[in-house]
Amino acid sequence: VIDAYLADVARHLRVHGRRRRRVLMELEAHLHESAERVGQEEAIRRMGTPEEVARPFAPRAFDRLFEQRDRLAALLMLAAMAASVPLALELHALNDRIGRATAAYFAFLAPTVVVALASNVLVLLRHPLGERLVKPLAVLAGVTAVVTLLSLPPADGVFTGYRQAVAAGYETGGCSGRALAVCAADHSDEIRIDYTAGAIFLTALYAWAVAGWTPRLRRRDRALA
């Protein structure tokens, strides 16, 4: 009786692969345990009809997406870090052209990057340490943002070097029709402010998605009705 019931549930079940096997194994274990106490017929009656049992397992697309928000945020942060590598290389190259070292600034950024990478990878693997690294990451990102926005050392040296290199004509992209010194200052401010704002937004989004506010599941509660 239980096998026939489970076959009927399986026919209505709209999930696949490992999850499907897990659902059926759990239901089977439940039914056998219940049947030992109340008999097979009563165990099946208490479980509900196969359609009723199978239907709620079918996930809604938005819910699935929302439940993966931590992983999506981790991927977004990894993509943003990868996308900022060319800028870092450009800053380094331009500073190098005028003989200014960038090691101190990149060493300053390194802990934030390392913690972010570790947290992102661990969150993708759903390891609990990934969530625990969010708070240190937020602190490091906050300190980095303040130092960069206020042009405090060691950020000031890199951006001063960038401005000097652009003003000296080592990089003239987007400067046509403007004095190089003005263009250099504009670009430097854009990089400093835009990238810092982006980093703050991304860190806040990541903190929310991974460790912060948890939805009250109202939509999903309604689905149980």
Partner: protein
């Protein structure tokens, strides 16, 4: 009280039951029934989708228990789930106080 009446409260009830002790689905249903004095007697099939949903939301975690005669999935509340449980307990207490104050004579 069946599934429809418990709609909207099932997540909190499951978190509360599992907040005290990890348990497998059948035991969760037993605990719900016992702790409610038999009032919460929901269709048992509704519990598993809810447990899976809470797990996907990161509020529960689960693993197979191989020690029992029959292999079964045991659920436990995660740290995120515990924070959610604490928050919803406070909300519920406030709500119950407010309703009590309104309907009391």
């Amino acid at each position: 009280m069946g599934g429809a009446e418990m709609s909207g409260h099932l997540d909190l009830l499951l978190l509360a039951v599992l907040g005290d002790t990890p348990a497998h689905g059948y035991r969760v249903i037993e605990l719900l029934r016992e702790r409610s004095g038999g009032v919460f007697d929901l269709p048992e099939g509704t519990v598993y989708p809810a447990l899976h949903r809470l797990e996907r939301a990161g509020l529960l975690e689960s693993s197979w228990d191989e020690s029992a005669p029959r292999r079964r999935r045991v659920y436990a509340v995660t740290p995120t789930g515990r924070r959610q449980l604490d928050g919803r307990r406070r909300e519920w207490a406030g709500f119950a106080r407010a309703v009590g104050a309104v309907i009391a004579r």
